[in-house]
């Protein structure tokens, strides 16, 4: 009995994760950020995301198991702009990792690398819904901004791991080059569609629309984080009929009932998209994710 217990214990210990051979352990809050970190870090860092691509990043659980990952992080990359306000702060506090506290040397808030859209003006209170007071945090759907974030990650990695600085810089440049090549193709595909209108569920596509030239005619949520009443959906239906809007684009972590109702009334389509890298089997990398968004949305508004 004693021998078998010891054997089990030994087996359990052997099953524990072994120290990574990579120079750095990078933890990100989203799969999109993890994909960018992998692009620029290569084998020099192990990269892990706290959330999965199929999850709504606003509502990830503050699961203490995630604090264990943060405990061992050499670098935490978060989106910022209050996207993770409901779950990241308690995890960071629980992690005991002082260096990843906000403003810490091993904390990179990606929003600091980009120009932010949808910064609310005027009275900012929750009568306008669950606003992000600092602006819209869904900027990775714009590849131009993703390139900026990738460069910021490379710069921070170079600070933390100076011996790998040349590698990070080279990989970041290579990623940017691949992104530019892909952008040329996407631009050619999207150019004829500039100005076409669509509905979104939540205001998640502001940055995507900013670079594609497509236009949002409204959201299913009358205000962020509030359920759509039938009167609001009726207004959207009227608007859709008047302006010929046929596409209701919705991330696959949202309930699609409202989107389906509007689409059915106007003879349109619900366009289900992954909200992040990994949110669909066909969106395994950052480039694949953006390509999938472009293909599905352009097909729906064509």
């Amino acid at each position: 009995m004693r021998t078998s217990s010891m054997t089990l214990l030994l087996a359990a210990l052997l099953a524990l994760p072994t120290p990574a051979t990579a120079a750095l352990r990078v933890v990100t809050t989203t799969e999109g950020l993890a994909a960018l970190a992998r692009e620029v870090a290569g084998d020099r860092a192990s990269v892990e995301s706290l959330s999965r691509g199929v999850q709504d990043p606003h509502f990830v659980d503050a699961n203490p198991m995630l604090a264990v990952k943060l405990r061992d992080a050499d670098l935490l990359v978060d989106v910022g702009l209050d996207l993770e306000v409901g779950w990241l702060p308690p995890l960071v506090n629980q992690s005991r990792n002082a260096a990843i506290q906000p403003g810490g040397p091993r904390r990179l808030t990606a929003a600091s690398a980009i120009q932010v859209l949808d910064v609310p003006t005027g009275v900012v209170d929750r009568s306008r819904g669950d606003l992000h007071p600092g602006g819209n945090p869904h900027f990775l759907a714009d590849p131009r901004r993703a390139a900026q974030v990738a460069r910021a990650i490379a710069a921070r990695l170079a600070e933390l791991d100076p011996t790998g600085a040349a590698v990070y810089q080279a990989r970041s440049a290579a990623f940017t080059a691949r992104l530019e090549a892909a952008l040329a193709g996407w631009r050619a595909q999207l150019a004829p569609l500039a100005g076409r209108k669509l509905f979104t569920h939540h205001r998640t596509l502001s940055y995507f629309l900013d670079w594609t030239g497509l236009v949002s005619a409204g959201e299913m949520e009358p205000r962020p984080g509030t359920p759509p009443p039938s009167s609001h959906l009726a207004e959207l239906v009227t608007l859709a009929r008047k302006e010929g809007i046929r596409a209701c684009v919705v991330e696959n972590y949202y309930d699609t009932k409202a989107d389906a109702l509007v689409a059915r009334r106007v003879g349109g389509t619900v366009v289900s998209i992954p909200g992040d890298v990994g949110g669909d089997p066909a969106a395994a990398s950052y480039l694949a994710w953006i390509d999938l968004l472009v293909q599905r949305i352009s097909a729906a508004v064509r």
């Binding site: 524990l16 994760p17 999965r52 999850q55 709504d56 509502f59 659980d61 503050a62 699961n63 203490p64 198991m65 604090a67 264990v68 405990r71 910022g80 702009l81 209050d82 306000v85 409901g86 779950w87 702060p89 308690p90 506090n93 629980q94 992690s95 005991r96 002082a98 403003g103 040397p105 808030t109 600091s112 690398a113 980009i114 120009q115 932010v116 910064v119 929750r126 819904g129 669950d130 600092g134 590849p143 131009r144 901004r145 390139a147 900026q148 460069r151 910021a152 710069a155 600070e159 940017t176 992104l179 530019e180 900013d210 670079w211 984080g225 509030t226 359920p227 696959n252 972590y253 309930d255």
Partner: protein
């Protein structure tokens, strides 16, 4: 360190043909940053309308919303003011002040270290005791509109806590395993005075796949009752959460078993609340609850709890079955309808209905886990 980084980032960004617009390093994406020296300020208000079929003050004394037998009653329960923020490079502070019909009180006001090595953390001040699961949670994070009977009957009328120091150690194990050792002056249910209490808790969480998390906590406390007497408290808490990655739905099973044992008491020193118990000063109780969050807007729960009877009820065990439905208007307000049936020793029983309204104003708090 930060400025050179931002400057180099700006230089690189401006050199790129991909850039949509110039990065504004001064903005740091937070236009309100100059205000961040202020703490996060929040207020949580809770109100209720209740209907009880029995005189609970006599036959089932407890905390929580309640009214006279047979008379529907509106209640202001509590307004909790929260102030949370960083003090300096070494500490955070959390302050929660409760305003209720009974007056104002400081529920918690404590410092937490932010930079200790070795997985250590220290909390010091007025704080909830690290004992069990529910004892550490503020009421607005509960699925139900009130606490299980056992908490009030065996621990403290509201929350077991008080001034003291709590040492926390996050072990280097690959799962979440945290050990807490605390020394606090506590004033349990009807004890009448604050006395030194030593508390130990081991909390563990394990991931069982992507969607399931298992939590297990073991807590023990010993309180000095004077004259060589002690009050020993023990608790086991279990938490199982199933949440598919996509969507907001989840299912949780939560259960706690609490025991209380007095040691070394001469009969005259047995606390007043023990007098109603058939088995003397010792007691045990607990609850088990199942909560289902259907989606963003609705959630439901079922709870069974049992505890030593109290007040003028016959000695024995009181059992209670509760069902609750929660309507979350948004993340910041909810309406709960709870119906409960009590079964007291000797065959007496009663019904209770609670309509509970709650709002959260100000800083966005953490989602409860």
């Amino acid at each position: 360190m930060r400025s050179p980084y931002l400057a180099s980032l700006l230089a690189v960004a401006l050199a790129s043909p991909l850039v949509a617009g110039a990065v504004d390093p001064a903005s740091d994406a937070a236009p309100w940053a100059r205000l961040l020296v202020l703490p996060d300020i929040s207020a949580v208000g809770s109100f209720a309308a209740v209907h009880d079929s029995a005189d609970l003050a006599r036959f089932s004394p407890r905390e929580g919303p309640q009214g006279p037998a047979g008379k529907p009653t509106f209640l202001f329960q509590e307004l909790e003011l929260g102030l949370q923020g960083v003090i300096d490079p070494y500490f955070r502070a959390n302050v929660f002040i409760s305003f209720s019909p009974g007056g104002a009180s400081v529920e918690e006001a404590y410092l937490t270290t932010t930079a200790l090595p070795g997985g250590l953390q220290v909390k010091a001040g007025q704080l909830y005791a690290p004992f069990g699961r529910l004892n550490l949670l503020h009421p607005h994070t509960w699925e139900f509109a009130d606490a299980p009977l056992a908490r009030g009957r065996l621990l403290a009328s509201e929350t077991l806590g008080g001034p003291g120091v709590d040492l926390l150690w996050l072990t280097p194990l690959p799962w979440f395993a945290e050990l807490q050792l605390a020394a606090q002056t506590t004033d349990p249910y009807d004890a009448g005075d604050g006395r030194l209490t030593g508390i130990a808790k081991l909390q563990q969480y394990l991931a069982l796949g992507d969607a399931v998390t298992l939590g297990l906590g073991l807590s023990a406390a010993r309180r000095d009752e004077g004259a060589g007497a002690w009050r020993d408290l023990g608790n086991v808490d279990l938490f199982l959460k199933y949440r598919p990655l996509a969507g907001r739905a989840y299912l949780t099973l939560q259960a706690e078993l609490t025991t209380r044992r007095f040691r070394g008491h001469p009969p005259a020193a047995i606390p007043a609340e023990a007098a109603f118990q058939g088995d003397g000063a010792n007691g045990a109780g607990g609850y088990a609850q199942l909560a289902w969050r259907q989606d963003t807007w609705f959630g439901y729960g079922l709870r069974y709890d049992r505890a030593p009877s109290a007040g003028e009820a016959a000695p024995g065990v009181e059992q209670r079955w509760s069902a609750v439905g929660n309507w979350y208007f948004t993340e910041f307000s909810r309406l709960a309808l709870q119906v409960a049936h009590d079964q007291r020793p000797g065959g007496a029983s009663d019904w209770e209905a609670i309509l509970h309204l709650e709002f959260i104003m100000g800083a966005h708090g953490a989602h409860p886990f």
